[in-house]
Symmetry: C2
Subunit: 170 residues, 2 copies
């Protein structure tokens, strides 16, 4: 692992010390940044009587309509029993519908109902508010740096899956 160009050192500070501090800074900011962003939707989730697990499912189904159950399982990296509980609740509340896959009839394709889409949009609006404020403050160059570092945290084996979220399914 190559050496990182440390921030122009305060006089005589050990490179090893700075290195540790840079790593800890990243760990902490990632922790606080992530938790505070997710806090943005807490109020609305409580109002709806839903939890974070429900939101994650809603989010990915919104992001990629006709996602299969298996794909969602891989994205969330939980067991099918856990996901089953969440999907059942979303279905019972008319937030999500499934239809049988056209190519492979074993698959179930997931979609939001209008009601589900409206809820997801409302939750997303909160995330957008927080994150776009941070983007604006930091500036576009920082945003691309932010992306690059985070991409580097995603293991090779998962990267394609994550990038594919940005592609519409045909």
């Amino acid at each position: 692992m190559a050496d990182i160009s440390r921030p122009s050192a305060s006089p005589g500070a050990s490179p090893l010390f700075l290195r540790e501090d840079e790593i800890r800074r990243g760990v902490e900011l990632l922790y606080f940044g992530y938790t505070r962003l997710t806090n943005a939707i807490d109020q609305e989730l409580v109002k709806q009587g839903l939890g974070r697990a429900h939101h994650r499912a809603l989010y990915f189904i919104a992001r990629q309509p006709d996602l299969t159950v298996g794909e969602l399982l891989r994205l969330l990296a939980i067991t099918k029993q856990s996901l089953g509980r969440v999907l059942k609740e979303l279905h019972d509340r008319d937030l999500v519908v499934t239809k049988t896959g056209a190519l492979d009839r074993r698959q179930k394709l997931l979609r939001l109902t209008d009601k589900g889409a409206a809820l997801e949009a409302e939750l997303f609006a909160q995330l957008r508010e927080k994150l776009s404020a941070a983007y604006v403050t930091a500036g576009q160059e920082s945003v691309t740096g932010f992306w690059h570092v985070l991409e580097g945290l995603v293991p090779e084996s998962d990267r394609q899956m994550v990038f594919d979220l940005r592609k519409d399914k045909t």
Copy 2:
């Protein structure tokens, strides 16, 4: 915050569409980056029979020795009952010790034992490995951008607390 409405038509890709995609990209990368980084220590935690909650406490106590219980509560943003359970377990395993505050004898100052420090160092090494690989791949400029965006996600009211982690207690 400006209004950023629905993704509009594809041809000539609307700036509004790009904006939503940029926000979703950030949400997803933050989610995957954060979870994959924390995955780095899963194996070791299981081996130790500890959970993530224990690690968070260990981490912050390592980061700022003589932290008080109240400060740790604010950092973790959980109830004292939840934290009490965790601290009791860490104490029972000789990973953490407390001493009465010198200035205010109601306070308990938290410190890692040698054993606790050794464990935290081992866990930190895993985080460092992952995160410094991401830093190196992305480059120093990206790293500062990464920090800036994340700082923007931390509400004003919490920012001082987070920054103060980088200062030694006197």
